[in-house]
């Protein structure tokens, strides 16, 4: 009985999260965002709803940061600029996740 209720709860949370995410996708389309920006923003909303370790988005930030100078020196400054923006987005996500982790650690310690 308890298991069933838990399952129901998880399902309803997943459904609610999915609605949020779909809403974000539609918002991005409505505002004429680029596909990459919609994907990143959707990911951003998803990890706020379902936190992940900060090291994951930090790794994403490193990945885009490494790509930036490669595009820059190969003469694609505009692409490099765009990729630097992605690195910045992932930096924001990593910092937010870091703060979440810290709060969670504190809560666990208090318990």
């Amino acid at each position: 009985m308890v298991k069933k209720e838990m399952l129901k709860k998880i399902r309803s949370k997943f459904a609610l999260d999915s609605i949020f995410v779909v809403g974000v996708v539609f918002m991005g389309l409505f505002l004429h965002w680029k596909i990459a920006e919609i994907v990143i923003f959707t990911f951003f909303i998803w990890i706020i709803l379902n936190p992940i370790p900060s090291s994951y988005p930090a790794a994403g930030a490193i990945f885009f940061l490494i790509l930036t100078p490669i595009f820059l020196i190969s003469g694609n400054a505009i692409i490099a600029d765009q990729i630097a923006i992605y690195a910045y987005y992932f930096l924001i996500m990593a910092v937010i996740m870091g703060i979440y982790e810290l709060k969670k650690e504190k809560e666990e310690m208090n318990q």
Partner: protein
Amino acid sequence: MEKIFGYIKSNKFYLLGFFVLFLVLLINSFPKGYVFSGGDTSQFIEMKNNLRGLFYNWQGKAVIYYSIFYLLDILNVSNSMQLSWYLGLFIVGSYISFGIFSKLVFNTSDRTRSLASLFYALNLYTLFVFTGNSSFSYYPSLYIFIPALSGFFIKFITTENNLYGVFFVLVVLLGSSGFANVAFVLSFFIFLIIIFLAFAVLGIVKIKRMLFFRLFMLGVFSFLISAYWILPVIPEIKNGVEKLRSSDILEFNYIIRHVTSPLMNTLSMTYPSGDYFPDNFPYENIYFFKKIIMMLAFLPVAIIFFGLSRLRLFEEKAKKYFLSFGIIMIVVAMIIAKVTPPFEIINHYIFSIWGMETLRGFDKTAIYFPFILSSLLLITLSQRENKKWLTVLMIIALLLPLPFYLGKIQQNMSYRFSGASPRNKDFRKSKLSFIVKIPDEYYKIRENINNDSEKVFIATLPYTSNDGSGISNFPKWKMYGTDITQYLYNKTLLPGNAGYFPDWNFAQAFNDKDDIDNQWIAKLLGMMDVKYIIYHKDSPDDSVLNSQAKIKKLENEGRIIKINDNDYFALYEIKRDYRIPYISWQNDSTQITGLTRIDERLDKIRNNSQGALFKEINPKKFEVQWNKDMIGKTLVIAETYDPNWKAYAVSKNGKEKEISGHILARGYANGWQMDDAGIDYSNIDHILIEFYPTRLLIRGLYMSFATALFLLAYLLIYYYGKKRNAQKNQI
């Protein structure tokens, strides 16, 4: 002795850092006989003769900074050698300041502190500063004090110990020259708010009512200690911001879009225009290195991102501080970006707020970014001390501003040579340079001018092409910027390129007017209390071509008298009859409005004017003798119109009353009509003319001095009490 050895042993890397900075200074020494001048700032030479003037003309701003150069000048340190002092003060000061921050906020190992402090002193931003045109002045000096100020602020808000607040306020005084450009006050205030909020989010700062009271008191004391320069600025702030908004020299909407730093540049600490290192790369033999450095410019941020990915391994305090600085980095990077993607909308609104437009320049906000990166690097390195490869990467990051280590940053790296090919990036080959040699001829006329005790001006002609800001252009000795020769003379220089009359430049009209009969220029300059004219033959050829015959004619007609003639300029004295003294009485209110009936009007003004007897109390305050015959006349001071000039009727019992009816006199100057119904003219002893901000400066000085004394007394009592307690505990 043992104590000293112990200190050296435990701080060997930090002390080694000073040695590195010393080598940087040594290799970047400046050629003998050269000075720095270019753009809208120039080196302040001959400081022993100029500090008093600077104090009054700049209303106390930057006087602390330039006091050091005053002392150097007294000690006969040459102007070229003083350039090394500008660089030295900046990099050594920054190094020490970050060391203080590190000790205060995040005490780490000696090696880590040394590496992060060196990074703060020598990075691509500081290289940008010293290859640009504002470096050899007070202008970027806030950079030196950012870490110390932030450190004391953070300690104050986290410990709520008043002692740190006292140190913060005293450092505010010490670094006050950095706030001489008031935009830096605003940007620093915003920066402190961001720090506070970030620390509050992470729970490092506990929000309490008492803390806000303490912060309020910190603000009050910071204001009081800065009163000597803040008070004089207040009457000018509103005008300044409005001028910025309506400026046709720097159109705001254009600037906000074009003086931006996209995220890519902010993260790599490179200036977006491509005029600076590494884009501006002077080393022909290692040109392949340019792309490597462009790639490695991202290394410091990559180290920080690596730190972020290993956050779970950090100690709790390090985690909190790292994330706080992470938030600060995110917000500051956004503000620096201005209206570039992805911040076009948010920053459009932010920079539309009244006052925010003063932060339009790149450096107003970017100045904080190196400190943020250095702090994050400090924390990352401190938490990953066992990783030797990280130290190696950090040393590589330190080598990124390569020109600092290879030397001659102004001789071959200057922004002036950005368009040249690597082999032509040389101050000797370039058409223009920031380091220039003032021709000896300019020194030779000092005796003529400086021995003259009359209160008169020096005008320069002809008008030359410039960027619209009024800077001078003397290509013969590669000078394009604020006229540095002004510091050689004890009379104020009126450069021909600057504007004095609204919507009209007389020097430009003199150049443009085809009519050979130009006697009006001698009369006009005479009306403006100009005694000497320096006619620059070192100006661009077209300017000389347009004006030389006209000047010659004035000379032949005896309207101007030649005193000196050489390859660079001719020095003239204006015929005595044409000159109206600095302070004078005028019977009418004839105005000069461009060339319309100018001869007739100038004659009328001259015939209706007579010199006033006056005493100079300081360069911005004059006591004028009064007699009843002057009722109904206009008192004129030959200074460009500014509503902050005030005249006071001082009665026989010493009471002052401001004279209303401040008018634009002679089309450019300040005048007061002596027909104010509120003044009892029969009871006037004398008239006082004063530039109002100077009055506030003197009042502010008392306030600042009293505040500094109070804080020093607090420190003395604090340490005395601490010592006494320690002695008691020992007993």
